[in-house]
Symmetry: C2
Subunit: 354 residues, 2 copies
Amino acid sequence: MLQKTTKLLVTTALIAGLATVANAAEKVKWTLATTWGSTLNPFIDSPTNMAKLVEEMSDGRFKIRIDAANKHKSPLGILDMVKGGQYDMGHSASYYWKGKDIETLPFTTMPFGLTAPEQYAWFYYGGGMELMQKAYAKHGVLSYPGGNTGNQMGGWFRKEINSLDDLKGLKMRIPGFAGEVMAKLGLTVTNIAPGELYTSLERGTIDALEWVGPGMDISMGFHKIAPYYYTGWHEPATELQFMVNEKSYEKLPKDLQQILLTAMRVSAYDMYIQNYHMSSEAWSTMLTEFPNIKVKTFPKPVMDAMKKANDELLTELKAQSPLLKETLESQEAYQKKSRKWTEMSDYLYLKDNL
Amino acid sequence: MLQKTTKLLVTTALIAGLATVANAAEKVKWTLATTWGSTLNPFIDSPTNMAKLVEEMSDGRFKIRIDAANKHKSPLGILDMVKGGQYDMGHSASYYWKGKDIETLPFTTMPFGLTAPEQYAWFYYGGGMELMQKAYAKHGVLSYPGGNTGNQMGGWFRKEINSLDDLKGLKMRIPGFAGEVMAKLGLTVTNIAPGELYTSLERGTIDALEWVGPGMDISMGFHKIAPYYYTGWHEPATELQFMVNEKSYEKLPKDLQQILLTAMRVSAYDMYIQNYHMSSEAWSTMLTEFPNIKVKTFPKPVMDAMKKANDELLTELKAQSPLLKETLESQEAYQKKSRKWTEMSDYLYLKDNL
């Protein structure tokens, strides 16, 4: 009797012990909604790599399922889904919901603004992260850099742009603040989800569009319809964005929080480098493989008009909210400071080594 | 009696259960030797942040102690200590042991070579990592990017350099391949560990030196002795380096391996951004706070002579080993390809927005 009781109790105790082990290794399963299609490299690679790192670093305790746009059918509604808790996380671009919350606009990129290293320095060492968290706090959402495209090309046009008159009346897909600049110059401006871009251009819903740069644009086929490819002014360092539902985040144990934060941070940097590589590859063969593409820079009077419109719109923008004003002025001050260093270091070096 | 025995057995069983937990959470303790002093920001921040992330992501299961140069007294001997197993890890710069193993030279930076985003793209997407592992395999050491300084300044000189004759006979601290270029131009070239730089300049052991850039140089005080500050040509993207003893690495469980790899990768990127920030801050106030500093660019005939010497030395270098030849040619091909994109994107943009 002694033996049997003891065995029973020992077994119970062992089960209790194993339960402790199981509890320590409780599995967390999250879902993430992206704006992108399931094959849209490198945008989709950023959340995909992030989830892979999270799973491997947590030894399988933390898994994040990635839902591409065709699954949730709401490519431009990611903020709402993360805010509402339908998804624990999102991957998108902050400037896509400037119509709903203008304070979230400057965290993607601004026309004539910071370059990629300048902007990362502003985010991580110049106060940018704190301002971004302030803007997203009202939504119960945490926001983090999600991958930078680097300097974007100015877009694909059916005809050469020789003057401001050539721009007037064009229907163009161009998101963010650059869209407002173009609207002020007389274009009809719209944003369209990535999956519908080619069809919109083909059917004439739009006359022109900007997407990203050679690495991503060529596979979309825009050059077949609109062969004039303009260099960039409007998105010098487009940062995509991870969003995390605050309540979901707070439920995570501390180690998984750090695993998540680190995986997001490294995946964002990696996407910048991956896209730099893809654009380098594409640019080096583009002009020989697709000789109909005509690379152009907007004429000076057009660029000057864009700068003037941008300056005027910025003044109006700053009047809209104190946090927005603080954010824009923080970026401007940081740009003034860091651009001097960019000039003395990379710019001067490149000038002699092209 | 039944009660007592049972309690004893239950306690034993619980201990066994807890032992299982403890075993699953077995602690790993590593040591890392750096070339740097314990306050040398941001160089020391890269391994320090890496170790902090490793500890937090592993919930304390994996700790890495950082030994600064004053502890191990061998700032330029890090490879040997990691190779010999005195340390599990190191943090240094690959070009410091070009005299021992010339194949490890090109993984830091090369004169007139790749910029930071180009070089990261080469490492991670253009074959650079594979070549670096090949070079270090003979030492039983794994090697990873450890933080980029960005474009470095050309150095501090006591007198203005107006011609090649002004360079001849100068004793200069300048490491890596750039040192060989300078030697070919008639300088006496040496490498000196960071902790001894100021004293060497003050005592006249050297007449000139290059260190990093405004963010790190100003606090060293070089401008008090040698106020001519030249812009860069010789280290366009100096990548520091994490080294890991291969046997130590293989003993780690898979999750801790991934935690280590990810922590190293993100800390390297972060140091690039941190130094960009520090240099931007320093540059913006340097000329008003230290009006005796004279910023200069080497005259064209001097720069042309450097390029010519560099080209000639590269030809000799490639003859030294097939792996070295493969690495240098891989970098050259990647630079040709990526520089075109750098020109069309950041360079053209900056040209209009300085």
